[in-house]
Each structure stands twice: as structure tokens, then as C-alpha cells.
């Protein structure tokens, strides 16, 4: 006997009935329907809006050492990294303390041809040049980079480690539901609101999976409607009536039946809500307000900056249409990323146009065992700063920039100040490159968080740096476990070739779930079980006793 209360399978296509149905689904504030729950996840603040989270999962294990690069460590570079080395810019003072370097493209240079690490203004760390669009967000104080993130007894299996990141319970294979799923359940809304957590991708990721409530996954929002035989409006309505009734039919218990019922119910409600959002290509009109990347040619000719969500060649950057340009390749992201930006746009629309609290996408392809970078050519236009890893980082850099601009320029139910964006990746890669121009599985990596409420770089009135947005990678006052340089230093701390963590990923997510989304500490102890265990040192600085590793506890992000 299925114990979950059944939802009716609502008509999705009868345009006539849509207005009324939608009103009941979206206009009634769900806080009214909310079950008695502690905390304030999903509760509007004094400004009437709720805090939201957008996650971007970098699946395959991102090479954190070529993402936020410890250029202040002499051990980064030969002989450990030769083909992969990103060098300091010989024309810039790397030691200068201040803002991040943000090289805009000149008329003769392409966007991404800058070959050097972009100093983050702490005299030690640099961004991979493909991440240059993070620099303006960093300089606005809305971005933090947390390096050396991992968890005790780090698994170097993608699948285990992704599961642990998503379940929030490392080394515990019995936790079958996701950390953000549990956060949604704690909100008290998961079974009353039609949408809480939403993923836009091929399948519902573990981070949003659980057995008591259905989170939503939409694969392709542009074809998110059913068909019928005959395929007419009336035929569709007749089919919906049948399916709604068939969903209520009772059957004997079987292993997957409660789960199927929840997901069919979620299908019905999400069909309703998403029918009212324009996910189409024609609706993708969101643009930068500035002359993006200093491209005044494009801005003057097109009345504004680049499209935020590049989903076609025409919406990908602006150099192609510059009459004065000598280059024809000013794409902001690789042309193979249109699917990602379609999904990212959908995730942004969902957060902005519905009451959903969490949305997320994945970017695959980070498992760079071989050919992580291009071979250098004679003119220097290819090399360690180009290639497969750089192409992935370009996606991340522009995605953050696009989200920053979108939620600042086009806010509806969500503004940049209400949002935290966070990147996840299951582990880092070997400090030493392998014989294949690549890197193998290792331990700690780097996370980014961004949003109006994220505490990052801060300068005083005289330009003096009050805090940096870089955690655990050089600089002053931002770390409790200093980065030791040299051949026996931090880069090799974990069994020879692996960067050792000094922050647990759960401390980052926990901080966001409690201090951004609004969980109480008691709720957080349930959402992230490790918080209740002092030996995990997730909140305050300490030593994680499982493998005796010092950690800083929660970074001061929010």
C-alpha cells in the first residue's frame, strides 16, 4: 500500500484552465501552507523575498591547482608541473596587494589569449586566465574562493566521492538522500510547495534525491509537455484526465512504487508551473549592461553588452560582429557549451520566476587524465592556458558573470542579493602531472561561492585591503593553516602527490545552508549529520580526528 498522499495529475495543456490552476499553485504564498518547521529556510525576510541557492557541480574532479593557482609556491611549476604550468605575468607585480587582475581584451587580442595567471591581489594566489570573468565579481566583493577543500578519508573514486559530496555524509554509504534534499525537507515546504529543489539536467542528482518528497528535474524545458493520441488540445485534456485517475489507482507494494508516485506527482505540478515560463530561444534576450570585456565596438553596434546565456553562435560574445576586429573568434564560451547555458538559463529562470529555493546544473568532463592542456605553438596562442581544462573553466567564469548580471539586471522573485551560487567538485587532481599531459585523482580542490550576500574582497576608503576573498591560499589573515611552500610543502602533504585539505566541504555548504538559507543549528545538525560530532570540527577550527588533519571550520563567507 502506498502511504504517500496522492496528488492529482493536473491538466498541463488546457490553456483555458491554466490561469486558475496557476493562481492556486504560485500565488498563494507557500509560507502560509508551510508545515510547522523551525528556522527560516524559505521564509521571506523583511524585504519580502526568500534566500535561494544555485549550485554548479563540476563532475569529474576539477584540477583546483590550475584553477586558483598557488603561484607563490615555488613547488608549483617544474618539475611537478611542466606542460601544465600557468606562469606569472612578467609585466605585472605579482606581489601587489589589492584587487584581482582583470585584463579586458584589446582590439588585437582575443578574450582568452591572456596566458598568465591573474593575480588575486593577495600576493600568492592567481586565477587561471580562463576564469577572468570572475575578477569583476571578486573585485565587487561578491566572490569567495575556498581552496584546499575536501573531507576526511578522501575517496579517490569519482562515484563514491560525488555521492559523499551530494549526500553530505562522507564515507557513509547508508545515507541515500541528498544534502539539499534534506535542507528542503527541513524547510517544511517539500511536501506542500510544488517546487522546492530543481535540477536542470539529464537526471535528478543525488544532492536533491530523497524518499519523502520529490524534487524536480527537467531535462529540456523547451519540450516539457506531453503528447496525446489524437494530439489535439481536447485529446491532451482527455489523456490528462485518464493519467490523473490512473495515478490514483492502488496496487500492491513494490520497491519503486512510492518513488514513482512522487515523481509522477511532481511531473504534474512542474508541468503546470513551467508552462508559464518562457524557456524558448526567442525568450533568451538577457544582455550585459556594460560594454562587455571592453568591447565597445559590439556595444555601440548592438546597443549593449554580450548575451548572458550564450546558446547560439549569434549570442556567444561579440567579436564576430565587430567591423574593426582583426579576429573572428571572440566567442565568450566554447561553442560546445550551448547546452550548458540553456540549462543554466533555465535554472536562473526557475529561481527568478517561481518559489523554488534551490536550483542546479552540472558541468561534465573534468576528469582530465590526458591532454588537459594544449601543446604550445610557436606564437604562444596555445599552451598551458588553452585546451580542455581551460575550456571548462571558461564556462564556469562566464556562468558566474552571467548569473551576477542576470540577477542584478532582471530580478523578479530573486535578486543577486538573495542568491548564493556555489560550485562543487568531488576532489582535486595530482600536484604532479602524469606522462599524458594530464593529472590523476587526488584530494583537496577549490570551491567558489558568489552572491550579493557573500563576504569576499573588501577595500577600505583608501584602497587598503580589509579582507580578501581567497581562503586557504596565501595572503594575510584569511587562513588558520598556512600554506607551506616548497618541495615538502602543502602541495604534497597527503601521501606525496596530493594537496591536503584544511576545510571540509560540509563547512562551506553548512555555512550557506544555515547563514544564507536560514536553517537553525539544530536543523543543520540533521541536514549535515557531521555537525553534531565535535570530532568533525565542521563549525569551529580544530582537527578532524578521523585522519588527524587540521581544518579551519567554517570559512567566514556569509
Amino acid at each position: 500500500m502506498n502511504i504517500i498522499s496522492r496528488r492529482s495529475f493536473l491538466s498541463h495543456s488546457a490553456a483555458l484552465g491554466l490561469g486558475t490552476a496557476l493562481a492556486t499553485l504560485t500565488d498563494v504564498p507557500f509560507v502560509m501552507k508551510r508545515a510547522l518547521a523551525e528556522g527560516s529556510i524559505g521564509l521571506p525576510g523583511s524585504n519580502g523575498r526568500v534566500k535561494k541557492l544555485l549550485f554548479i557541480f563540476l563532475r569529474g574532479a576539477n584540477d583546483g591547482l590550475n584553477t586558483v593557482i598557488p603561484l607563490g609556491d615555488s613547488a608549483y611549476g617544474p618539475p611537478n608541473r611542466v606542460d601544465l604550468e600557468i606562469k606569472k605575468d612578467p609585466l605585472q607585480s605579482f606581489a601587489a596587494i589589492g584587487r584581482a587582475v582583470f585584463p579586458e581584451a584589446g582590439p588585437a587580442a582575443g578574450v582568452y589569449d591572456h596566458p598568465y595567471g591573474l593575480g588575486l591581489g593577495n600576493g600568492f594566489a592567481a586565477l587561471h586566465p580562463a576564469l577572468k570573468f570572475l575578477a569583476p565579481i571578486y573585485n565587487a566583493g561578491d566572490l569567495a574562493a575556498i581552496h584546499r577543500v575536501g573531507y576526511p578519508k578522501q575517496s579517490r573514486s569519482h562515484f563514491d566521492s560525488q555521492n559523499y559530496w551530494e549526500s553530505g555524509a562522507p564515507n557513509d554509504n547508508n545515507t541515500k538522500d541528498g544534502i539539499l534534499y534534506r535542507a528542503m525537507v527541513e524547510s517544511g515546504l517539500a511536501n506542500t510547495a510544488p517546487l522546492t529543489g530543481v535540477s536542470i539536467g539529464s537526471s535528478l542528482p543525488l544532492i536533491l534525491r530523497g524518499s519523502k518528497a520529490a524534487m524536480t528535474n527537467v531535462s529540456d524545458p523547451t519540450r516539457f509537455n506531453l503528447l496525446a493520441v489524437p494530439n489535439t488540445p481536447q485529446g491532451n485534456a482527455k489523456a490528462d484526465t485518464f493519467l490523473a485517475a490512473a495515478n490514483r489507482a492502488r496496487f500492491a507494494d513494490k520497491r519503486d512504487r512510492d518513488f514513482l508516485e512522487l515523481q509522477y506527482g511532481n511531473l504534474a505540478s512542474s508541468l503546470q508551473i513551467f508552462a508559464n515560463i518562457d524557456f524558448s530561444e526567442a525568450g533568451n534576450t538577457f544582455r550585459d549592461d556594460l560594454a562587455t570585456d571592453g568591447d565597445t565596438d559590439y556595444a555601440n553596434a548592438n546597443g549593449g553588452g554580450y548575451y548572458l546565456f550564450p546558446t547560439t553562435n549569434e549570442k556567444n560574445g561579440g567579436w564576430r560582429r565587430s567591423s574593426t576586429s582583426t579576429r573572428a573568434d571572440k566567442y565568450v564560451v566554447p561553442t560546445s557549451s550551448y547546452d550548458l547555458f540553456n540549462r543554466l538559463k533555465a535554472a536562473a529562470l526557475v529561481l527568478n520566476k517561481t518559489d523554488a529555493l534551490v536550483a542546479g546544473v552540472s558541468i561534465d568532463g573534468w576528469d582530465t587524465h590526458s591532454n588537459q592542456v594544449d601543446q604550445p605553438n610557436a606564437t604562444g596562442t596555445t599552451g598551458s592556458h588553452t585546451g580542455s581544462h581551460a575550456n571548462l573553466l571558461r564556462r564556469v567564469g562566464w556562468a558566474m558573470y552571467a548569473l551576477n548580471k542576470y540577477f542584478n539586471r532582471y530580478p523578479d522573485k530573486c535578486r543577486w542579493d538573495d542568491l548564493a551560487v556555489v560550485t562543487l567538485s568531488e576532489f582535486g587532481r595530482t600536484s604532479v602531472e602524469n606522462s599524458d599531459n594530464g593529472t590523476d585523482h587526488a584530494e583537496a580542490s577549490v570551491m567558489f561561492t558568489a552572491g550579493g550576500g557573500i563576504k569576499g574582497f573588501e577595500a577600505g576608503p583608501l584602497g587598503e585591503v580589509r579582507r580578501t576573498g581567497v581562503f586557504n591560499c596565501g595572503g594575510t589573515g584569511d587562513q588558520s593553516v598556512p600554506w607551506q611552500t616548497g618541495p615538502t610543502g602543502t602541495l604534497f602533504k597527503a601521501t606525496g602527490r596530493y594537496l591536503q585539505r584544511n576545510t571540509d566541504y560540509r563547512s562551506v555548504l553548512g555555512k550557506l545552508i544555515r547563514d544564507h538559507l536560514g536553517a537553525t543549528q539544530e536543523q543543520l545538525n540533521r541536514i549535515v549529520p557531521g555537525y553534531a560530532n565535535a570530532a568533525e570540527s565542521l563549525k569551529a577550527k580544530g582537527t578532524q580526528t578521523r585522519d588527524n588533519t587540521p581544518v579551519i571550520g567554517e570559512p567566514d563567507l556569509v
Binding site: 575517496s155 496525446a228 493520441v229 489535439t232 511531473l267
Partner: protein, 845 residues
């Protein structure tokens, strides 16, 4: 059964004032006793609501005077949904129980087999296997070498083949004409044309063509154009009757003036749904035969080989080197749909997925080696084909072992590129690539964190250096020491770079061992690690206690000596996989994966086999490991399969309908569910294979032969089921059930066709064709055969309502008033079947 009845009885007794009670039966063996959920009294009648029991043919309400009394059928009990209302309560008959008459045990097992070792039941297989018995079916499938399979063989014998197309008349104004012609010069034998109004031909409609069986010559009905003037009626062959038309074309045709045609009277209105069929005799003729109405609304183009899109024809293309990924996928899907050796197909997909490779990575590899995109497609497709053909062959060997299958994967160029051994070097100070080494432990043999650690991965990666690819002469494909081909396609090239470039060399890309890349250090595999991280060469790892006395405590280290060159160097790799293939870790992991594939998803790694408190799942895995270990050779696949498929767990309700279909299983099982063989050799549901690749990808990115992550596609439901993927699944079945001309058909493709009315005509007595109840029962029983008729009542009621409601969803439109051959009847049935296939229950297997 659930143990909760007594508790329920007590609480019910007290809450219902003690005068009513339900009792779980003192079990009659074959009968299930469903849980009684509520008991009540309405208008003096007892009302008993109960929970559905699995696989039930009939529910009965029983009553007795005392708890221990004799329970007998209750008089006048009326069943509504899952609630009985009895006759007015008798004070001396106040104890009730519900009894479920189950599906016969062997019928249940037969159905479970068709869901697990086959890609779902077909109507014909359901009948055959239930008649044959589950044991005989299992024996048949476990010995595929004794089961003839003709899928991959082209049939050169001429035979009559029928073409049937449905469309909408599209000529604008004037006469309607039917044309036939060959696209080039040549000849063909054709016979028995039928053109009827309607989106299917039930045999009852009027044939709009005159003299379409050619029994009375050509003149009068048909007009013959000049290029076809040698055509004539002949009695050399006939599909039916004594004559057919021999079409002889001096040159190709394309329109009325170059065709044999007939004017159809009366003229058919534009937009009328039409079904055209005819027969042709297969031949080696190259020129395709075109038969169409004016315009393109109803049109067919047939290659006279009669092998269009057959697995055999696609395989021939693949073997010629001209096939690409879309062909390979179609071949694979058609095998799943059509094969008699269904278990072999299920297992080959399992192997393809277990030893997963990503064709786009292989394609990139060849793209970077001088080939153009098409050549890179073709070469990479061949690597996937070869490993699959090798597995297919291996599965026909009665004693095939896991090691045999692992070797095929290790030697496959697709794997060598995918997990980067192709470029890995361990000579000198180079650090070998760890990708293959890690997955060999984690995903192919031992399972994650099961008996190995990082040190072993480093050691294995060194042993695995030198396994790369080379372009060798065709007859050297399976010689890993073969030299690079020196046979030039164009030997006249003067530029030596062009002369020696890959695309100018004749041969095949094959596994090749290059000793210069091999790491020459001694390797201690599965030895313990010292605190400083180095290997303790004195202490091999020990099999942990949880494996129980049969294995626990045994050392399983392997030492590979230093300085192994030449054949001794390549031997390190083979020694290593031979060593790993039969360790208890591998036995456990592969057994768990097979149990998940064949029974349910709730099996996991890490059982403690040393204790006595074993769950049925743990017990079954242990039995599989024993079967693996105790055979004449270790690791015989059939021994493990036999253990699983003969287990109590598999035969019980815990094995039935406990899994959700993957997108591949869903798409294939949709076609199979409606696929019955017609007398003429055609089927009531069919696909070209090509058109299913789209849905399989869209419903969760199951991209056959092209998985990016090395863990293979998952089996469990949460990975596949979400609002987005359910949308794609429902769109697909709706589209598959559409007639070809309907908007939305592109989702399933016009080459995926279904004819549920054709199926009804074959399987349901003519007198019941207009009986909504009979049609509803037929389809619910057919599509949900393991559910039991008694559990399908709610679906049947919905189906009857659907059949008796007009297409507007509102108006009553009695099904028994629809003419059997009419398009209204056809659409009504299609709509119903599409919806039954859209329910939660069809997601399961």
C-alpha cells in the same frame, strides 16, 4: 506476508467494539491473505477494505462464526476497488478475512523471466513461454548456442514481402492516381495491391484499386508508360492467385509519364487517411521500387533486397567499415527487439555497460590522427563493434568465464583509448596514467574500496604500460606485436609525409604492445602499505574475515618481477587480470551487479558472509560466489546466472516488478509489448532501430556506446525517473502509438510503428472487438501481465470510460458504435494503449 495482522486485529477489535474482526488466514498454502485495512458497518452491512496483494487473479471475502472457525465464502459480497461490502451482518458470522487467488507460480516466474532475461514480453512470447513453462524457457535461454538465430544473416532466397504504408491523400484537385515505377532501369515482380480509406487496413474496407491482383491482365485498369512497355502480367510467380505483374523498366521513372498508374474512382478528398499495401518479390535488383499516390502523402520506396534496415544488412555495412555510430546503435536496438536469444542480448548490453567505453573519445583520438570526421566515425564505430561481436561469440560458449569477458575488454581498442592506456608510459621517470588501473579495481573487478588501495593502483598502472594501438595489416588485427602496416592505398604519393600518413595506409587499428613504454620495475600488487606510504614487500594483503572461512585469511598478493621485456612485459597485464578475475572481491562485485540486473536494486557490496544472519539478498550473493568458485573452471557465467534465476528470491514476489526500466529497456519493451507476428511475416509493432536512439538519449542521456563516465549507466530507479525524463518517456509512447501522419510522430519516428487494432484482430474473438470491457481487459492483462487481473480493475474501469468517451474528452461516444475498421475506432484504441503505456506501472519490469 506481512506480520502485522494480529496487531491490526486486536486494535480493530477494541476500536470497533469487539463485534467485528478480521483475521489473517490460517494459511491455505497457495493463497495470499491481503491485509485488512479497515472494517466497518454501513447500513447493517460489513465493509472490508483491504490492501492489494501482488499478482492476484481474484479476491474473495470469507466469513466465519469464530476466530478459529471455518471460513467460507461470504454470500453476496460485492467488490468495489479494494473494498468488499457483504450481505447484512449475521451475528453468528462476524469474522471476516479476504483471500487472494494468486497467479500460478510458474506463470509468475515465466513473466518475471520475460521482464528480466528478455527485453519485456511480446504477446506471442507471453503465450509461448507460459505454455512452455518457465524451466524450459530458462534452459533455452541459458544455452543460446542451441537456439538458431538468423538475425545477422542476409537471406538471399527470393520471397514475397509486403509493404504497408499509411498516410494522408495529398493531391490537390483533379484525379487521384496511384503510380508505380522503378527509380532506375530493371525489373520487379509485384502483386496484390490494396488501397483503402483509413489509417489501418482491417481487411474489411473496400479496395479502391481495380484488378490489383493482376489476375485479368493489365488493360482497362492500368496505364503503362513507354519506358515500362515491356511489363506484363505473368504466371511465373504469384503471391496469391495465379498471376502477378512483372514490372520491366527500360529507364527510371519519377512521375505519371514514366510509371504504371491507375486513376482511382471516386476521387479521394485531400486529407483523407489512406492505407496502401502491396507485395513484391525480393531480388538483387538495385533500383528501388516506388509506389505512391499523387503527391507525397502516401508513398513507399522499397529496396528490392527486402533487407532494408534488417540487422543483417546493418551488420554488413558495419563490417565493411562504412558503418557509423547510428548504424551500430540501430543494430544493437534491433537485436534487443527481435532476437530469439534474448538473454544473450541482455547480457551483451550488461557487458557493454560494465566494461563501459565512450566512442566520442575514440573518435577524437582518430580525428587527431589524420582522418577526416567520417573516417574517424567509422574507425571508432568498428572498435565498439568488434568488442561487442567478441562478447557475442563468447556468450555462446557454455563454459565462458568472467576472465574471458574481461580479456576482451582489456584488449579492445575502445577501452585502450577510453581509459588512457593508449598514451601511458612508465619507462624512465615517467608517471604512468592511473585511469585504467583505478577502474580495473573499482569498476571492472573488485568494486569500490573493496580489497585495494591507492598503492595498488600505482603498481597496476605501471604493469599496464605499453598497451597501445597501431595501424596494422588486416590479417594482423589480433597480433599485439604486429608492426605498423606498410601497405599504401596510394603508393604513388611523392610526399613522404602524405605517403606514410595514417589515411594512406591499408589496415586496421588494433591493440598493440610497445615494450619501450613498459615500466620495468618490480611490482608488488596487493601488498600492504607501510606507514611512510611505501610498499611492504614482505606482507601481502589478506582476504578479510567478512568473506567467511572459505576465503578469509588467504594472502592475495602478486609479484611481477623486474625487467620484464617483450612477451614477458605484455604477460604482466594478462597475469594481473587473471589474478584479479577470480578473487572473492571480484566474485562478490560481479555477483552483486548481476543480482541487481536480474532481481532487484537492493543488493550491495560488503555483506558479512561470516555470520549466520544472512538476508535473502546476502544469501543469494554468497551462493553466486560459491557457484563461481566451485565450477570446473572458476568464474563460469552460466553457473552464476543459473544460481540467480533458480533462486527462491527470483521466483518470489520479491523478484517480480521490483525494477524500473532503463530508457533502453523502456523503448524496446514498448515496441515488444505490442509486437505480434502477422501471417505475412510483418509485425503489429515494429521499428527500424534508428528511430529509438533519440528517446533512449533524451530520457536521461543513455547514449549507447558513448557513456562519458566509466561506471556505466545505473540500474536503479532514482537515476532514471524525474519529471523531465518521465515527460520524454510519455511523449515517446504517445508518439509511438500515433498513426504516421499525426503531428508529434517525430518523437518516436515514422519508422516506429504500432498497430494495436491489428493486434486485437489477431488475438481477440471478433465478437468482442466492440466490447469495451473485453478490449480493456485484453490490453491491461497484456501490458501488465504480472499484476494479476484482479489488481487491474481500476485501470480497466478507466479504460472502459476512455473507450466510451469521444475525442473531445467530454461527449459520450459508445465504443460499440464505432465500426471496427474505422479510423475513429483505430484512434480510440491507439489513445487507450498509449495511456496504459504512460502509467507508472509500465515503467516497471
Amino acid at each position: 506476508m506481512k506480520p502485522s495482522w494480529s496487531h491490526r486485529w486486536l486494535t480493530t477489535l477494541s476500536s470497533a467494539s469487539g463485534w467485528l474482526a478480521a483475521l489473517a488466514s490460517l494459511l491455505a498454502q497457495a493463497r495470499e491473505t491481503p491485509d485488512v485495512l479497515t472494517l466497518g458497518l454501513q447500513n447493517g452491512r460489513p465493509v472490508v477494505e483491504f490492501a492489494p496483494a501482488p499478482a492476484t487473479l481474484e479476491y474473495r471475502l470469507l466469513q466465519a462464526p469464530t476466530v478459529n472457525g471455518l471460513f467460507a465464502p461470504a454470500a453476496e459480497a460485492v467488490l468495489t476497488g479494494f473494498q468488499f461490502t457483504g450481505a447484512a451482518l449475521q451475528w453468528d458470522q462476524r469474522f471476516f478475512q479476504v483471500e487472494a487467488v494468486p497467479l500460478a507460480a510458474d506463470t509468475l516466474t515465466a513473466t518475471t523471466l520475460l521482464h528480466r532475461i528478455a527485453y519485456g514480453p511480446t504477446p506471442d512470447e507471453l503465450e509461448r513461454v507460459r505454455a512452455l513453462g518457465s524451466g524450459a524457457y530458462l534452459a533455452e535461454q541459458l544455452a543460446p548456442e542451441k537456439l538458431s538465430e538468423t538475425l545477422d544473416f542476409l537471406d538471399p532466397t527470393p520471397r514475397w514481402k509486403q509493404v504497408k504504408v499509411t498516410g494522408v491523400a495529398s493531391t490537390s484537385g483533379g484525379q487521384t492516381r496511384l503510380y508505380m515505377y522503378l527509380e532506375g532501369s530493371g525489373d520487379a515482380y509485384v502483386d496484390n495491391f490494396r488501397l483503402v480509406v483509413g489509417s489501418s487496413d482491417t481487411g474489411t474496407q473496400t479496395n479502391l484499386l481495380k484488378n490489383a491482383d493482376f489476375e485479368t491482365g493489365l488493360t482497362g485498369s492500368w496505364t503503362v508508360s513507354a519506358n515500362l512497355v515491356a511489363s506484363a502480367v505473368t504466371t511465373d510467380y504469384a503471391q496469391n492467385g495465379s498471376a502477378c505483374l512483372h514490372l520491366v523498366a527500360a529507364s527510371g521513372g519519377d512521375s505519371q509519364g514514366t510509371s504504371i498508374y491507375q486513376v482511382i474512382t471516386p476521387t479521394v478528398a485531400v486529407g483523407t487517411p489512406m492505407t496502401l499495401s502491396f507485395w513484391y518479390r525480393t531480388s538483387a535488383e538495385d533500383s528501388p521500387l516506388v509506389v505512391r499516390l499523387g503527391g507525397s502523402g502516401v508513398s513507399s520506396t522499397a529496396s528490392l533486397s527486402g533487407q532494408d534496415n534488417s540487422p543483417a544488412q546493418i551488420l554488413a555495412k558495419l563490417l565493411s567499415g562504412e558503418g557509423t555510430l547510428t548504424d551500430l546503435r540501430a543494430w544493437h536496438i534491433l537485436h534487443a527487439v527481435q532476437a530469439r536469444r534474448q538473454l544473450s542480448e541482455v547480457l551483451r548490453q550488461f557487458l557493454e555497460n560494465h566494461f563501459v567505453t565512450q566512442i566520442s573519445k575514440t573518435r577524437d583520438y582518430f580525428d587527431n590522427r589524420g582522418y577526416d570526421g567520417t573516417q574517424a566515425d567509422q574507425i571508432s564505430t568498428r572498435t565498439e563493434l568488434i568488442e561487442n561481436l567478441r562478447w557475442q561469440d563468447a556468450l555462446l560458449r557454455p563454459d565462458v568465464t568472467f576472465l574471458d569477458l574481461l580479456k576482451i575488454s582489456a584488449e579492445s581498442p575502445a577501452m585502450i583509448v577510453y581509459l588512457d592506456t593508449v598514451g601511458s608510459r612508465g619507462n624512465g621517470t615517467r608517471i604512468a596514467n592511473e585511469n585504467y588501473a583505478r577502474e580495473l579495481c573499482e569498476l571492472f573487478c573488485f568494486g569500490v574500496d573493496n580489497g585495494y588501495d591507492q598503492q595498488d593502483i600505482v603498481q597496476i598502472s605501471r604493469a599496464w604500460t605499453g598497451w597501445t594501438l597501431e595501424l596494422v595489416q588486416t590479417n594482423q588485427e589480433f597480433n599485439p606485436f604486429a608492426l605498423r602496416s606498410k601497405t599504401y592505398l596510394d603508393p604513388t604519393l611523392t610526399n613522404t609525409t602524405e605517403l606514410n600518413a595514417n589515411p594512406n595506409l591499408q589496415g586496421l587499428w588494433a591493440f598493440n604492445y610497445q615494450g619501450t613504454r613498459h615500466n620495468l620495475s618490480a611490482k608488488h600488487l596487493f601488498y600492504q602499505t607501510k606507514p611512510d606510504g611505501s610498499v611492504d614487500t614482505t606482507k601481502p594483503k589478506i582476504i578479510p574475515a567478512r568473506f567467511g572461512p572459505r576465503w578469509a585469511g588467504q594472502p592475495y598478493g602478486l609479484v611481477l618481477a623486474a625487467n620484464q621485456t617483450g612477451t614477458n612485459g605484455i604477460k604482466e597485464g594478462y597475469d594481473l587480470i587473471s589474478h584479479m578475475a577470480n578473487q572473492p572481491f571480484t566474485m562478490e562485485f560481479i555477483s552483486v551487479k548481476l543480482c541487481r540486473l536480474l532481481v532487484h536494486d537492493g543488493f550491495h557490496l560488503g555483506y558479512d558472509f561470516s555470520d549466520d544472519h544472512q538476508t535473502p539478498e546476502e544469501t543469494l550473493v554468497y551462493q553466486c560466489m560459491l557457484a563461481w568458485d566451485q565450477g570446473t573452471q572458476k568464474g563460469q557465467l552460466r553457473e552464476v546466472l543459473r544460481t540467480i534465476l533458480n533462486s527462491d528470491l527470483f521466483h518470489s514476489h520479491a523478484g517480480s516488478l521490483q525494477k524500473v526500466k532503463t530508457p533502453l529497456e523502456f523503448a524496446v519493451s514498448t515496441v515488444r509489448a505490442l509486437r505480434a507476428r502477422n501471417e505475412d511475416g510483418s509485425f503489429t509493432a515494429d521499428t527500424d532501430g534508428y528511430s529509438l536512439a533519440g528517446i533512449i538519449n533524451r530520457a536521461g542521456r543513455l547514449r549507447l556506446f558513448d557513456r562519458a563516465e566509466p561506471d556505466g549507466y545505473p540500474e536503479d530507479a532514482p537515476a532514471w525517473i524525474s519529471a523531465g525524463t518521465l515527460t520524454e518517456r510519455i511523449r515517446f509512447v504517445q508518439s509511438a502509438l500515433m498513426p504516421v501522419s499525426m503531428t508529434g510522430k517525430s518523437d518516436a519516428g515514422t519508422a516506429t510503428t504500432t498497430d494495436p487494432v491489428g493486434l486485437l484482430l489477431k488475438k481477440l474473438p471478433a465478437a468482442q472487438l466492440n466490447d469495451a470491457g473485453a478490449v480493456a481487459r485484453f490490453f491491461t492483462d497484456l501490458l501488465f501481465p504480472a499484476e494479476g487481473t484482479a489488481n487491474l480493475g481500476e485501470f480497466r474501469d478507466l479504460a472502459v470510460t476512455f473507450l466510451n468517451t469521444g475525442d473531445d474528452g467530454v461527449t459520450t461516444s459508445d465504443f460499440n458504435q464505432l465500426a471496427t475498421g474505422s479510423s475513429n475506432y483505430d484512434l480510440r484504441v491507439r489513445g487507450l494503449v498509449a495511456l496504459l503505456l504512460s502509467t507508472q506501472r509500465f515503467q516497471e519490469q
